[in-house]
């Protein structure tokens, strides 16, 4: 009863709390470290997202929550909207932010870097939450730019040349992507006279202007999601950023633009999509899986390997589009492609962040991440190697991890819709992922010259909390595999009503 009363106010609170955190951290620039403050904001975010999830899964409540800002309704005003899909992504963001905020408080030992890091860190969260709740096409542009600019500044934080060059390239790609998106929105506004997503969905017709708008929006979003062949900026940017930033960029930022792709293709402008275009996205996704895995296998640096693994995992996400089309009702019931992909998104966010933390801790300990130079470290860094291994198991899709459930659901979708070729791509991609993960594990478990190598290396001990943060995320990725039910139910409820 009380929950239903406060539920509508959750939406503006979810955007405001991280913004407040950014301002607080900006004002407290001289304080160091800031573990308690930021853990508190992280907890508040988890609490709000949790309340939203509960409110949306109550049996008698609406499946979609709206908040009309300042009482101005569409088309003039801006609405915030949350359904099951948005709530799950908000929860993922909140959980990752909580763990990574604790990690960051220990990671940034340098006071100056810490002072610059925290406001940008929470601004990024504001942008992410804003994207997931946006009910307005122009508001999406603004939140995308908040994400883009905050990410660029965060990548550049380490200040070395490689990071600055990667940040500059990412900034140019981000601006180009946003402008393509904005041009698409301009065309939509010209055609339909509204920016409200729900109104656009009901007004949209299949005509050349809508096709042009959807193409421009998609190109912009694909640039930001780094789907092959637009992935060239991702490996240097994700590999040269500070560890918690890499984790959030790979785990959440590419998912924000992917979430918008899902919204535009399946919710807002499904009239303008064609089977050919949906299949093309699947082909690009498959190419990304193969190219990403091969490049990850050939990488010499650990963080570059993990970044290329993101290119491959982004490829899987795009299998949603062909799998949702031919079996047009399949993704609306609980076993379908959308549920599988959302599962995949959450599993990848947890596992990839855990993997970046493990890689970052190894880098912290040895001051480099050259894979050949890490021979036999499993005995010195057991916790981080263990984290890497179980996160890797989820990425490969070994049971009982969340990655396994996601791939299982995807395979089911591919076979039930009669598109066996995507099933082949999913299975082969899993094998390739196993190849690069076991290549690294092979090196670190090689004990042949362990004693002499370890004497040369002078490993710096990693604080236990930093190692535990990674382990916590990796364990969550495994535990998610054990209770898939509630999430699938929440998604099926919201999909059934919007159908």
């Amino acid at each position: 009863m009380t929950l239903q009363f406060i539920a509508p106010y959750l939406l503006p609170a979810i955007v405001t709390v991280p913004l407040l955190a950014a301002i607080c951290n900006f004002l407290m620039a001289s304080h160091h470290p800031r573990l308690a403050l930021n853990a508190l904001f992280g907890l508040a975010q988890v609490l709000l997202a949790g309340l939203l999830l509960i409110a949306l899964s109550l049996p008698d409540t609406v499946v979609e929550m709206r908040y009309i800002l300042a009482g101005w309704s569409a088309p003039l005003g801006i609405e915030l909207i949350a359904d099951g899909l948005a709530a799950i992504l908000l929860m993922t963001t909140a959980v990752l932010y909580l763990v990574l905020s604790v990690y960051s408080a220990l990671y940034f030992t340098d006071k100056n870097k810490g002072a610059r890091f925290w406001p940008l860190w929470w601004l990024l969260a504001t942008g992410l939450n804003g994207v997931f709740l946006a009910g307005d096409a122009f508001n999406i542009y603004v939140t995308l730019e908040i994400i883009g600019l905050a990410s660029v500044a965060l990548i550049a934080l380490s200040g070395d040349r490689a990071a600055l060059v990667a940040a500059l390239r990412y900034a140019l790609v981000g601006l180009l992507g946003s402008l393509c998106y904005l041009l698409g929105v301009a065309l939509l506004y010209r055609a339909y006279g509204t920016l409200d997503l729900a109104q656009l969905a009901s007004l949209a017709e299949a005509n050349p202007l809508t096709w042009a708008a959807l193409s421009l929006i998609s190109v912009g979003l694909l640039l930001k999601t780094a789907l092959l062949p637009l992935h060239f900026w991702l490996p240097p940017a994700h590999a040269s950023a500070p560890v918690p930033v890499s984790a959030v960029l790979s785990g959440l930022v590419v998912k924000a633009s992917f979430y918008l792709m899902v919204r535009f293709w399946l919710d807002i402008l499904p009239v303008a999509t064609t089977t050919l275009a949906l299949q093309l996205l699947g082909v690009l996704g498959t190419a990304a899986i193969f190219w990403g895995c091969i490049s990850a296998y050939r990488a010499h640096r650990l963080k570059v390997m993990v970044a290329y693994s993101t290119v491959a995992q982004v490829g899987y996400l795009f299998l949603l589009f062909p799998l949702s089309a031919t079996s047009i009702d399949a993704w609306k019931v609980s076993g379908g492609a959308l549920a599988a992909i959302v599962y995949f998104v959450v599993a990848h966010a947890l596992a990839k962040s855990a993997m970046f933390i493990a890689a970052g801790n190894i880098m912290f300990s040895y001051r480099h991440d050259d894979i050949d130079g890490l021979r036999g470290i499993a005995r010195e860094q057991p916790l981080d190697v263990f984290t890497f291994a179980i996160a890797g198991a989820s990425l490969i899709g070994l049971p009982p991890s969340a990655g396994f459930i996601a791939k299982w659901l995807l395979l089911g979708g591919a076979i039930s819709s009669g598109q066996w070729w995507w099933a082949a791509a999913i299975l082969f991609g899993g094998l390739l992922a196993a190849a690069y993960i076991f290549r690294f594990l092979n090196v670190v478990f090689d004990q042949s010259q362990a004693a002499e190598l370890s004497a040369q290396r002078h490993a710096r001990p990693v604080p236990l909390t930093m190692a535990l943060c990674g382990l916590a995320l990796a364990v969550m990725a495994i535990l998610m595999g054990f209770n898939a039910g509630w999430m699938l139910e929440l998604l099926s409820v919201s999909a059934a009503v919007s159908a």
């Binding site: 730019e145 940040a167 500059l168 041009l183």
Partner: protein, 99 residues
């Protein structure tokens, strides 16, 4: 109607020229000018759309363009700062090649 069409076509042409420049240009400042040109193209299309309605001028595109300009300024500043930092690092390296 014709006036609106001229503005719209010019806007899209500016976007296309900017995109071409962004891909072709080698220098970072040229790339930034190209990106800003693309942005101006989009803004012009928005402003032309304000005339698109039946009789009165639609105020919403103006608000959108204002927001867009603010974002463009912020993005350009950040890119320029990065470019300056990179060239500073390069100059230092040129002065002390031993490091």
């Amino acid at each position: 109607m014709t006036q609106e069409l001229i503005y719209s076509v010019t806007g899209i042409a500016l976007f296309a020229i900017g995109l071409f420049g962004l891909i072709v240009a080698g220098h970072i400042v040229r790339k930034l000018v190209a990106i800003n040109m693309m942005g101006i193209g989009v803004f012009m299309l928005f402003l032309a759309t304000a005339l698109h309605g039946p009789d009165t001028v639609d105020p919403i595109p103006h608000a959108l363009v204002l927001t867009g300009i603010v974002v463009a300024v912020a993005g350009t500043c950040l890119c320029l700062w990065l470019a300056i930092s990179i060239s500073k690092l390069d100059n230092e390296k040129r002065k002390n090649p031993q490091q």
